[in-house]
């Protein structure tokens, strides 16, 4: 039956991919139609899956009727839907922004300019990426994950090079290499797991309750691969140049969404397939995350390029996602629901807030045609709404209430205090203050009235509103979290063990 809710999963993956094919055609109308269709497919599929999963628990869809172990199975639970929703929300705002950012490409002059070339390829690449992200969140088996990871990595690296500068090309190439190496590590892990378990299905691997050296090596390999793609300290060096060099809408996608794709895989493996793995491994991840929080923030404070500053902030904020790992499984055994909801709420809030900041920063650099903090001096008076969007996004990032970041911080802190993990609690608190330091540094330049920027280009209203919409969403996430958190618990948190 076509109305069966399982088809939402197909729509979520195939919708953006097909829309991407349409956008490939290249004419402005096709690009716009492609974006609208991709957006519509993602949003409606997410809404459909959300209601279904809340009502009926996790959902399985054997594609073409071929179930496990032979066929490909799509799987959706609360975690998948949360990630889909995050992608749909941020993705829609960015799509809207992109239609204005690249200029009116129906004019030949614009189309042939470097920016116009960016515009032509942005939409197809982004829709391809969107489809692969949705696919990752809905994959039921590890080989599928590998294939989708490769698509994600290739399209993401290509998006960096859309800004036709030599910097962007170098950064994009570096990103591509890291991404491919990361996938190779993952593929090695897949092969090992298949050898040991005889299955590729995440669910069955979980039920086997694998232990012993081979699965441990497999997990280690996959973790290294995914950590590289998620830019976990100390493999983060590729991220700032890549995210800073990309065109603003691409930066927002990369920082807000793409890194979450590989993070999601890591979480699935550690929590769902390996049930926490080894305590030592969790601690290593946590300590690397903590280092990332401090190091990323300090590096952010030292940047003069606005976009690099935000990119280093991503390195720092991703650190919290790894601090979540040791918190999830307290030393005395058991499970911390606060760490689970807090960590994932942080992932969601960070995506929304960071995208708002990158889009706002994009509008500012668009206006002054330079990516330099000193060049945006006084911009708060020229682009007040963009300034507000950047500020609200930054405050959410720092966990200032009311904001999604605050709710996440509260939950993570509570998890840490409950376990007596005072080191983690202090880290989370200090990390928030460091975040404030670099956000305020930008705001201070933006309100400075001592010198006028020499040249100033008008920014399309749509760009300003897209950033503002995300900033308001970050705020609202802090007023009402109940539905999102109960979604996460729909059908049990660790469904397969």
């Amino acid at each position: 039956m076509i109305l069966d809710p399982v088809h939402w999963t197909t729509l979520a993956v195939m919708g953006p991919l097909l829309a991407g094919l349409l956008a490939m055609e290249g004419r402005p109308r096709a690009i716009r139609l492609g974006l609208v269709l991709g957006m519509g497919a993602s949003v409606s599929a997410t809404a459909g899956l959300w209601t279904t999963v809340v009502r009926e628990g996790p959902l399985r869809h054997p594609l073409g009727g071929w179930g496990m172990p032979l066929g490909i199975e799509l799987y959706a639970d609360g975690l998948s839907v949360l990630m889909l929703a995050m992608t749909a929300l941020v993705g829609s705002a960015v799509s809207l922004y992109a239609t204005a950012y690249f200029g009116d490409i129906s004019q030949r002059r614009v189309r042939d300019s470097p920016a116009g070339r960016g515009a032509r390829f942005f939409a197809p690449l982004w829709l391809l990426l969107w489809g692969s992200l949705n696919g990752i969140y809905l994959s039921g088996d590890i080989f599928n994950l590998y294939v989708l990871l490769e698509i994600m990595g290739l399209s993401a690296a290509a998006m960096v090079t859309l800004a036709v500068t030599s910097k962007a090309t170098v950064a994009g190439m570096r990103y591509l290499v890291i991404s491919l190496v990361g996938s190779m590590f993952f593929l090695l892990g897949v092969a090992l797991l298949y050898t040991v378990g005889g299955t590729l299905s995440l669910e069955r691997l979980a039920q086997l309750e694998l232990s012993g050296p081979l699965p441990a090596v497999a997990l280690a390999l996959m973790t290294v691969g995914m950590a590289a793609k998620t830019a976990l300290f100390p493999i983060h060096g590729w991220l700032p140049p890549a995210h800073a060099a990309a065109p603003a809408p691409a930066s927002a996608i990369l920082s807000a969404l793409v890194v979450k794709g590989s993070f999601y895989i890591m979480l699935r493996l550690w929590v769902h397939v390996f049930g926490g793995g080894a305590r030592e491994g969790l601690l290593v991840l946590g300590i690397l995350g903590a280092t990332a929080v401090i190091w990323g923030s300090i590096m952010a404070l030292r940047q003069l390029s606005l976009k690099r500053l935000i990119a280093y902030s991503t390195v720092a904020q991703l650190g919290y996602l790894f601090v979540m790992f040791p918190l999830l499984f307290p030393a005395g055994g058991g499970w911390s629901p606060d760490a689970w909801s807090g960590g994932l709420y942080h992932a969601l809030s960070h995506a929304v807030a960071k995208a708002a900041m990158f889009l706002a920063a994009g509008s500012m650099t668009y206006a002054v045609a330079r990516d330099d903090i000193r060049a945006i001096s006084g911009i708060a008076h020229r682009l007040p709404m963009t300034f507000l969007a950047f500020g609200l996004g930054g405050l959410s990032l720092a966990g200032i209430p009311p904001s999604g970041g605050f709710v996440a911080k509260w939950l993570l802190l509570r998890s840490a205090v409950e376990q007596g993990g005072w080191g983690w609690a202090v880290l989370i608190t200090v990390g928030g203050l460091l975040t404030l330091a670099y956000v305020l540094m930008v705001l201070r330049y933006a309100v400075d009235q001592t010198e006028e920027p020499p040249e100033f280009r008008d920014v399309p209203r749509r760009m300003e509103w897209a950033a503002m919409g995300l900033a308001i969403a970050a705020l609202l996430l802090g007023i009402r979290a109940t539905e999102t958190l109960s979604l996460l618990e729909a059908g049990g948190i660790v469904p397969w063990r």
Partner: protein, 502 residues
């Protein structure tokens, strides 16, 4: 007597009555003066009316409570009980008066849209934290208050103002981080963040782990004491005086500093419970810290020539009366502390208003320029004298009642050491306020040191500056004269203590 209106949503409406104008004004153009003024005044009057309705309701025994779940186990909750209303009424009335004052004070200066927008948001945050029904809600509004005040502190945009703003943020944001950590910790220890009369902690649990609970208290105290300007974290307050006079008046006599003092009250009474707090030594520590700050602030005030800095150090000192009073177990001391929240607010705002009139009309900012100003600004200096005498504690002005209740209450509580503190403080108050009054009235005027901007037709200065000043001075006098009736601030404070709402 029955409540006229018992809508549960009333506390939310009180918060929204300044939030909506604040956000609306943000989107106005600088030249839309009429609409801006209308929004300001409508919001301010509406807030006073709504608060009046709630006062009547609570007096008649109603309780107002509005809740919204944020996540399971944590909610935004606004309650309108007698204690909340004490602070809310003060904020609402003084906001109305200060709005009129600010409109006059900032006539024709730049960035008024931004100013009035954040001014309204400040009051929103203040009323929100006053009515917060739990620590979670309190934290939200407490942090929001920091962000709403910052643009006002740096309003002038001078390097000095930016520097002051920076310092303000460093102090308040660090404190905010401590408060969040403490709040989460409290939830883990107590299983709840709700405010309850008599506290929510179990005496046996506290006695079982005294060090842990004392550390918890210290973290939370660090969070609220910065805004309460306790020694040694008072340093931001005198420096933040670079803000325009209406900001200093409302925010540094009422909103921000009172948020801190109110937080100390909530911490002692609604979270730990005053009996538990005494038992673990926390309340005694607060009393000692407050007593020290009272003397310290007064001594520092002695050496100031800049009028606003003098008033700021006086605030540092006077604020601690509140903490001192509520830290004791006896009803009289508690009532004295609570009522000083209102009394100090009315008197200090009068003094700041006067400083603003002096600065705006004559460009007089220092005590040494004030020789003979009473002849030029008789009404203003009369208001100043009333408020200053009240601060010293001379009857019948309001400050006397606070000090009397504090003193008697402390004696009841077996803490006679408070009496010399109060006496010393009064003497010091006299030592820095009386010379100001003397020079204003009895020294030969020296108009060369003034830059007179002229009279208005009927008043000695712009009526929008003089009328609010006279009104608040009258309020200070009336609160003192009629302290015995139920609806006076003192009557209300006694009601809070009697009903055991604290």
């Amino acid at each position: 007597m029955t409540p006229v209106l018992d809508w549960e949503i009333l506390p939310l409406l009180v918060v929204l009555s300044s939030f909506v104008p604040g956000v609306w004004i943000m989107f106005l153009q600088e030249e839309q003066k009429g609409l801006r003024t209308t929004l300001n005044m409508v919001g301010a009057v509406a807030k006073v009316l709504l608060v009046g309705l709630m006062l009547q309701g609570v007096g008649a025994g109603a309780a107002y409570e509005w809740r919204l779940q944020v996540l399971p186990g944590l909610e935004l909750s606004l309650i309108g009980d007698a204690l909340a209303l004490l602070f809310v009424t003060l904020s609402a009335v003084l906001w109305l008066v200060t709005t009129v004052y600010a409109i006059g004070y900032l006539e024709d200066s730049p960035n008024r849209t931004r100013f009035f927008s954040f001014f309204s948001l400040c009051v929103t945050a203040t009323t929100g934290l006053a009515m917060a029904g739990d620590l979670f809600t309190f934290v939200i509004f407490y942090e929001a208050l920091t962000w709403a005040t910052y643009p006002l502190v740096v309003h002038r945009g001078t390097p000095e103002a930016i520097q002051a703003g920076r310092l303000y943020l460093i102090y308040t944001l660090t404190a905010g981080a401590a408060l969040v950590l403490g709040a989460v910790w409290f939830q883990v220890e107590a299983g709840t963040v709700a405010f309850a009369p008599g506290g929510v902690l179990d005496m046996a649990a506290v006695e079982g782990a005294p060090v842990r609970y004392f550390s918890l208290f210290l973290v939370l105290l660090a969070g609220v004491s910065v805004k309460a300007a306790f020694f040694p974290v008072h340093g931001w307050l005198p420096i933040a005086m670079v803000a325009p006079a209406p900001v200093s008046a409302l925010l540094h006599a009422v909103a921000v500093v009172k948020a801190g003092a109110f937080g100390v009250t909530r911490l002692l009474h609604s979270l730990f419970g005053i009996e538990v707090a005494w038992e673990m030594g926390a309340a005694g520590m607060v009393a000692g810290l407050a007593a020290f700050t009272i003397i310290y602030g007064s001594i520092r005030a002695l050496a100031q020539d800049d009028l606003k800095r003098l008033l700021a150090f006086s605030t540092v000192s006077q604020l601690s009366y509140i903490a001192l009073g509520v830290a004791f177990l006896t009803p009289m001391a508690q009532a004295g502390g609570l009522v000083h929240l209102v009394h100090q607010g009315i008197m200090k705002i009068t003094l700041f208003f006067c400083a603003g009139v002096l600065a705006q009309t004559l460009e007089v900012k220092k005590v040494s320029q004030m020789a003979g100003v009473a002849r030029r600004l008789p009404l203003t200096m009369l208001a100043f004298s009333v408020a200053a005498l009240g601060m010293i504690g001379i009857p019948p002005v309001a400050g006397f009642l606070s000090k009397w209740y504090l003193g008697v209450g402390a004696l009841d509580a077996g803490a006679p050491w408070v009496i010399p503190v109060l006496l010393a403080s009064s003497l010091l108050n006299a030592a820095y306020f009386l010379p100001v009054i003397r020079t204003a009235y009895f020294d030969e005027p020296d108009p060369d040191r003034w830059t007179d901007r002229g009279h208005s037709r009927r008043f000695e200065a712009d009526w929008r500056l003089v009328v609010p000043t006279v009104i608040t001075a009258l309020l200070a006098l009336l609160s003192g004269l009629f302290g015995g009736i139920p609806w006076s601030p003192l009557g209300w404070a006694e009601l809070i203590v009697d009903r055991r709402i604290l």
